[in-house]
């Protein structure tokens, strides 16, 4: 259950635990991400997916919990381990698989791949391949919402950006620059560090100064920070809800150290020789999905049968998504010169939205917020 006795957090969290129905939807979302990743690995191994593949197994509570604490219109941006965030944001898994398979129905028409999941209708701003590079972009998103609200609309800032990064990104200059800018410009952004303990294959304490207490980084910028348990979705949600509310009100940035664990390797070719099997087993015993399952069983909100049925339903849905995506056509060669420039000149043929996208409606926005439990 929610453990709040971390070093820098002594105040009792007043955010209530959501209704069981909301918890059930989170379980479903986490199962969906897990199954998506398992089938992504399989697809990669079957050569349906190419390039690099970084899966999110074990970290599901972070994306689902953080995003549940946000409004659907609040921007989300992350690095290359991005499937979980995109799905938690509402990306249809079949669109995700189509992107993984390099098909025209993908969210980036097969031009982005695993590391570049974008979904404008769901305020998902990528999917970025260079470690830390998304952090200046994230401050730009926060700057833009604030500028739009205050300068263009003449009102008050009303959005919060969640900028996810890994512990490995903490040593990138651009991350420091982004945090500095966020502080001096009073930007409404939460730097959500998914501290999965490894920068690729290098343990955090081997490569990061004061790696055992990464919130010290925030201290240097005079930024408020907190460490939370990323394997417990209820804690993630309750802590993040409080933080997001605060940032929305103050428009001052916040740094969150979210303890989590990457069950799989950095990418698919990682034999994980840098850590022990015992360590892996220890964290696997702390599986966030099982933790929430146990909680729902204890609450008697769900039965074993219902959980098994939910699991089966999700697996069926993902299998269908894989089938659908593998039927999607590969992009026509004409796509090669499309989307390079917004306008048409030379060999370039302008740009257009991906097939699956249609303009977001108010209905989409509301249902999104409801399903996120806010």
């Amino acid at each position: 259950m929610s453990t709040t006795e971390t070093a820098n957090h002594v105040v009792e969290n007043t955010v209530p635990v959501p209704d069981p129905e909301v918890l059930k939807s989170w379980l479903r979302d986490m199962l969906q991400i897990r199954e998506f990743e398992v089938r992504s690995m399989q697809a990669y191994q079957n050569k349906l997916a190419g390039g690099f593949l970084h899966v999110y197994n074990g970290q599901e509570a972070v994306a689902v919990g953080c995003i549940a604490a946000m409004r659907h219109t609040d921007p989300v941006i992350t690095a290359y381990r991005d499937h979980g965030h995109a799905l938690a944001r509402g990306l249809d898994p079949k669109i995700g698989f189509a992107e993984l398979f390099g098909r025209i129905d993908g969210c980036a028409k097969g031009k982005g791949g695993s590391m570049h999941f974008f979904d404008r209708n769901n305020s998902m701003f990528g999917g970025h391949g260079i470690v830390g590079a998304q952090c200046p972009l994230g401050t730009g998103l926060a700057f833009a919402t604030k500028y739009t609200d205050e300068v263009i609309k003449g009102g008050t800032s009303d959005s919060v950006t969640a900028c996810f990064l890994g512990d490995g990104a903490l040593n990138q200059g651009s991350v420091h620059e982004a945090m500095n800018l966020a502080v001096i410009f009073d930007l409404p952004i939460v730097f959500c560090v998914e501290n999965n303990r490894y920068a690729m294959g290098t343990a955090v304490d081997r490569c990061t100064a004061s790696g055992n207490q990464i919130t010290n980084r925030a201290l240097a910028f005079g930024m408020e920070s907190r460490t939370i348990d990323g394997m417990d979705i209820i804690e993630v949600y309750r802590e993040m809800k409080g933080i997001i509310n605060q940032v929305r009100a103050t428009t001052k940035p916040f740094f969150v150290d979210i303890d989590t664990y990457r069950f799989k390797g950095h990418s698919m070719s990682d034999p994980r020789k840098y850590r022990t099997h015992e360590e892996e087993q220890e964290y696997e015993a702390d599986d966030p999905i099982e933790k929430l399952t146990r909680y729902l069983l204890a609450l008697k909100a769900m039965t074993e049968e219902e959980i098994k049925s939910l699991s089966k339903q999700v697996r069926h849905e993902i299998r269908e998504a894989v089938n659908w995506a593998s039927q999607s056509p590969v992009p026509d060669v004409s796509e090669l010169h499309h989307d390079v420039y917004a306008d048409t000149w030379g060999d370039y043929t302008g740009t257009s939205l991906p097939r699956y996208m249609k303009p977001a409606t108010d209905e989409d926005a509301t249902s999104g917020e409801a399903s996120n439990g806010s």
């Binding site: 921007p75 941006i77 993908g106 969210c107 980036a108 028409k109 097969g110 031009k111 982005g112 570049h116 974008f118 979904d119 404008r120 701003f125 990528g126 999917g127 970025h128 260079i130 590079a133 952090c135 200046p136 972009l137 994230g138 401050t139 730009g140 998103l141 700057f143 833009a144 919402t145 500028y147 739009t148 205050e150 300068v151 263009i152 200059g173 651009s174 620059e177 982004a178 500095n180 800018l181 001096i184 410009f185 499309h338 989307d339 390079v340 420039y341 917004a342 306008d343 000149w345 030379g346 740009t351 257009s352 939205l353 991906p354 996208m357």
Partner: protein, 327 residues
């Protein structure tokens, strides 16, 4: 109504007019606000637009360039000033990896309407790290546009086009040109990106210039005219898209071409122009395209050495005489 104003004033007019017309446009960079701009380009803009739209930054190019790019994803249209393009190198990942590729990587979901502008090229004894000519390096990347005005009129018209463009546009200015004066119309007009202009008509040899090198070409053409060689000078104005049609038209007339490019020669705009001219004008050439570049060395500090390193009228004259078999 045209009047003579400085290059820097023309840039300022372009930005101010666009900012008045579109609240999504803002200016961000080092010393652009309180300091009135390191080169006084943004002088007075803080007073008119206030600190919410004229934004001083820390010395943090990667950070504020990335911030600008991120803000375009939500519809803003920033102007990011680099005090010098030399300093943009620390922001290379943002300006080369994110800005020009966002539209493609996102399959058309997120464009990047942003202008990066600042001084490019040797200022005058600034030494190697501060004398970068980034045009050849950066123009290599698809997804961005690049403009390089040579006079106040084009500076205003091109920068206004750039601010309205839905793509990332790199605007390369020269510290050495900021004080030159020229006729600039008051009020709104644009110079289209990707269209060269004939700076001077001639019959015997085509000189292709970019930004400041147009003036070097002018000096050389004056000298060569005394020798009976009539040069046609093209002011390219844009590097991407490059107006190859204008070059081809001229070379088909003169049969000779000299490119004057102030970046290094290896894999440069000069070599690109040469390759394109050789392909498009093969049967019209009486000699291979000659190129005048910075010497292939880091920019030296010492005055005479620096002058020797840069493209100049003497080198252009030599190239023209050589290409036209008058050496």
């Amino acid at each position: 109504m045209a009047r003579e104003i400085e290059f820097r004033e023309a840039l300022r007019e372009a930005m101010s007019e666009e900012m008045r017309a579109d609240p999504r446009v803002y200016l961000i960079g080092e010393e652009v606000a309180d300091y009135n701009g390191a080169y006084k380009v943004s002088k007075g803009m803080l007073e008119e637009f206030g600190p919410r739209r004229i934004i001083d930054t820390p010395i943090s190019e990667s950070g504020f360039a990335g911030l600008g790019i991120g803000s375009t994803m939500l519809g803003l249209r920033p102007i990011v000033e680099f005090m010098s393009w030399s300093f943009s190198l620390v922001a290379a990942d943002q300006i080369l990896n994110n800005a020009p590729k966002m539209l493609y990587m996102s399959g058309g979901q997120f464009g990047c309407p942003i202008v990066f502008r600042g001084n490019d090229g040797a200022g005058g004894q600034l030494g190697s790290t501060h004398s970068w000519c980034v045009e050849s390096l950066y123009a290599n990347v698809p997804g961005l546009k690049m403009i390089i005005p040579s006079n106040p009129h084009d500076a205003k018209g091109l920068l206004k086009s750039a601010i309205r463009d839905d793509n990332p546009v790199f605007c390369l200015e020269s510290e050495r040109l900021l004080s030159i004066k020229g006729d600039v119309p008051e009020g709104d007009y644009v110079v289209p990106i990707g269209k060269a202009t004939i700076h001077r008509e001639g019959t015997d040899c085509t000189l292709v210039g970019f930004g400041r090198t147009v003036y070097f070409c002018e000096q050389a053409a004056d000298q060569l005219a005394r020798e009976g060689i009539s040069c046609e000078i093209l002011d390219m104005r844009s590097i991407r898209p490059l107006d190859m049609e204008a070059i081809i038209r001229s070379v088909k007339k003169t049969n000779y071409c000299v490119v004057v490019d102030q970046s290094w020669s290896f894999a440069s705009i000069g070599s690109e122009v040469a390759a394109e001219v050789h392909a498009a004008c093969f049967d019209d050439l009486d000699n291979h395209v000659h190129r005048v570049h910075n010497d292939d060395v880091p920019a030296p500090y010492s005055h005479d050495l620096e002058q020797e390193m840069l493209p100049n009228a003497r080198k252009i004259c030599e190239a023209v005489r050589s290409v036209t078999y008058n050496a």
